[in-house]
């Protein structure tokens, strides 16, 4: 049924190739029934979702829930055993590598630093793959400007601090001018100011029309800054909802085995570990908190 529908849509799109609505359709990255196995272990067991432009989504879940695997599948780095990823009307896996890079870009958690290479060389190489030769330097300047790394352009990649290198990695992905940007724990190991700066950047990018999917372990940041959150648990989505949804406490309790509930004050979220009211439901956590510190 679904395939037939898609075929019709596809034929329609081909007929009206210059139709402006097609442009709109390409602003959605959606995936259906993704199953992914890694070294014989089933990591994703059928996840569906769609990421639109201007959307800022936080991907949360426990260690090993499949967050990184999902991100890597969405850039076609991993091939799903079942299911598919679509950019608008087009199958992501069928796109040539350079075309794909114009749609989705990925920032790994800690990419290796190239030896003796300047920041500007690193960005140039990424921009050259996707941009025409006369636009490369403009692309690089724009990406560096957006991330605020213009003063770092002539530095060696190996001489940067952890936070600076993170920003450079994001700039490298932005130099591809992608429609969708996927980031794997971009704030891990950053100081509070840099974390805040990162989320400001993410919101600015979303405001400019980019769709962002950000895997994070920091629930407070996710609930504060993302439009909506996707909770992965045992290879499936447990909840995909805006941060203010009333369903979060139950879902978080199930996924993390802790009585977590977000509450919002003036646009900022904190996570409350609600031990008192749920003491009976979470004896293990309570026992943990009452352990004497030697």
């Amino acid at each position: 049924m679904l395939g037939e529908q898609r075929l019709k849509q596809k034929m329609g799109a081909e007929k009206s190739a210059k139709d402006p609505s097609r442009q709109q359709k390409e602003q959605v990255l959606h995936f259906e029934q993704l199953h992914v196995q890694l070294r014989g272990r089933r990591v994703l067991n059928g996840v569906d979702g769609q990421l639109c432009s201007k959307q800022l989504v936080a991907l949360i879940g426990r260690n090993g829930a499949g967050k990184s695997t999902l991100l890597r599948t969405l850039i076609a780095f991993y091939t799903p055993t079942l299911g598919s990823v679509w950019v608008g009307e087009r199958l992501l896996a069928s796109l040539p590598a350079v075309q794909r890079a114009r749609f989705v870009a990925y920032v790994p958690q800690e990419p290796p630093r190239p030896l003796a290479m300047r920041v500007v060389d690193s960005l140039n190489a990424a921009a050259r793959k996707t941009a025409p030769a006369n636009e490369v330097s403009a692309r690089v300047a724009q990406a560096a400007g957006q991330t605020g790394i213009l003063p770092l352009l002539d530095r060696a990649c190996t001489s940067l601090s952890g936070g600076e290198w993170r920003l450079v990695s994001i700039a490298r992905a932005l130099a591809q001018a992608p429609r969708f940007l996927l980031l794997d724990e971009p704030t891990a190991g950053l100081d509070p100011m840099n974390r805040y700066e990162f989320w400001r950047l993410a919101r600015r990018l979303a405001g400019n029309g980019c769709g962002l999917l950000i895997a994070t372990h920091d629930l407070e940041e996710g609930f504060s800054f993302a439009n909506s959150l996707w909770l992965l648990h045992e290879g499936r989505f447990l909840l995909m909802a805006p941060s203010t949804s009333p369903d979060w406490p139950n879902a978080l309790q199930r996924a993390f085995s802790l009585p977590l509930s977000p509450f919002h004050v003036d646009g900022w979220a904190s996570i409350h570990v609600d031990l008192r009211s749920r003491a009976d439901k979470a004896p293990a956590s309570r026992a943990f908190l009452q352990m004497p510190i030697p």
Partner: protein, 335 residues
């Protein structure tokens, strides 16, 4: 390290000039010293018949030798750059990884087979050496893997290299061939090259080197990690296979022409990286240029220290390269 475009161009032009000067010295100097004028006449005056002694020396002995040394130096340095990008390890080098030994082993085995069984028809020497290089490279890559860190790769390379060298020695001794030939394969040199060598060496070098140059941007991205490269639009597996092919091709061709010459692929790219940086569009041509200069110079030294005897070129590069390698091992700045 932060060179402007102008400075880079200047450096490039200066390096070309240096290469030409060293090549000139390589042609003019040696057991018989030739005045500048005679070299110029022998090189440039096409109507001269090669009866004069100087002309014979220049045209049939020294010119092919200097050209072969330059080509091999450029090829070895380029192969080093390619291997370092593929394995994301600045200590990778065809010689330390045992790839040169594998190539030499196949070449020696092929030579001996044709020597012992004249009826047998085998592919030409460079093809045999390339096959050996590719198989050794693949074995090390599959057995140790690029992920497991530099030290394991080097250990595996050293072990495979010793194994192949021992095998070469056994084969040669079993076949009772001259020790001079054994020395050629294990230590390398240019005493045997002629114009016939250059006929196949030059195209193979241009092919392999050009292939690597074509992959410059891909190498830039690949050394930032497979995921980042994939995300930026690189077809990671395909590029890795291509790098593997180009490096094997270069190493096979170099070994078939000049035996095993070590450490050029390590010293030269490292020096070039310090000066022009890690971007392959600049690194690769500069390393090739300096590799050519380096090996022409070493060859000149090899035949001028104790004339009329010639030292093996590989012995001199190892003499310089081994301490350099230890220094890198101690001070390398790898994440």
């Amino acid at each position: 390290m932060n060179l402007s475009r102008f400075q880079t161009t200047l450096l490039f032009v200066g390096s070309v000039a240096l290469l030409l000067a060293v090549a000139w010295a390589g042609i003019a100097m040696g057991s018989v010293r030739l005045p500048l004028r005679e070299v110029a006449i022998a090189l440039l005056h096409p109507s001269l018949i090669s009866s004069d002694q100087a002309v014979t020396i220049v045209r049939t002995l020294r010119l092919p030798r200097v050209l072969a040394a330059a080509l091999c130096g450029a090829g070895l340095a380029a192969a080093g750059v390619g291997a370092q990008a593929l394995l994301r390890n600045p200590l990778a080098d065809p010689y330390t990884m045992g790839v040169s030994s594998g190539a030499a082993l196949f070449a020696v085995a092929g030579l001996l087979a044709t020597f012992l069984i004249p009826a047998i028809s085998l592919p030409p020497l460079p093809v045999l050496a390339m096959t050996g290089a590719a198989l050794t490279f693949a074995a090390i890559y599959v057995l140790v893997g690029a992920q497991s860190g530099g030290i394991y790769l080097l250990l595996a390379g050293v072990v495979v290299g010793s194994f192949c060298s021992a095998f070469i020695a056994l084969l040669e001794l079993a076949a009772q061939r001259a020790t001079q030939e054994l020395l050629f394969w294990l230590m390398g040199g240019f005493s045997t090259v002629s114009w016939q060598t250059l006929v196949w060496l030059a195209p193979l070098l241009v092919w392999g080197g050009g292939w690597l140059a074509y992959l410059s941007d891909e190498m830039d991205l690949l050394i930032q990690g497979e995921e980042a490269a994939h995300s930026a639009g690189v077809r990671v597996r395909s590029v890795q296979w291509q790098l593997f092919g180009a490096v094997s091709l270069l190493v096979g061709a170099m070994v078939a022409a000049s035996g095993m010459i070590g450490f050029v692929g390590l010293i030269v790219p490292h020096a070039a990286r310090l000066i022009v940086g890690g971007s392959h569009r600049r690194l690769l041509p500069m390393a090739a240029l300096w590799g050519a200069t380096f090996l022409v110079l070493i060859d000149l030294v090899a035949r001028s220290i104790l004339p009329p005897a010639e030292l093996p070129v590989g012995a001199i590069t190892a003499f310089l390269g081994a301490p350099f390698f230890l220094y890198l091992l101690r001070h390398r700045r790898v994440s």
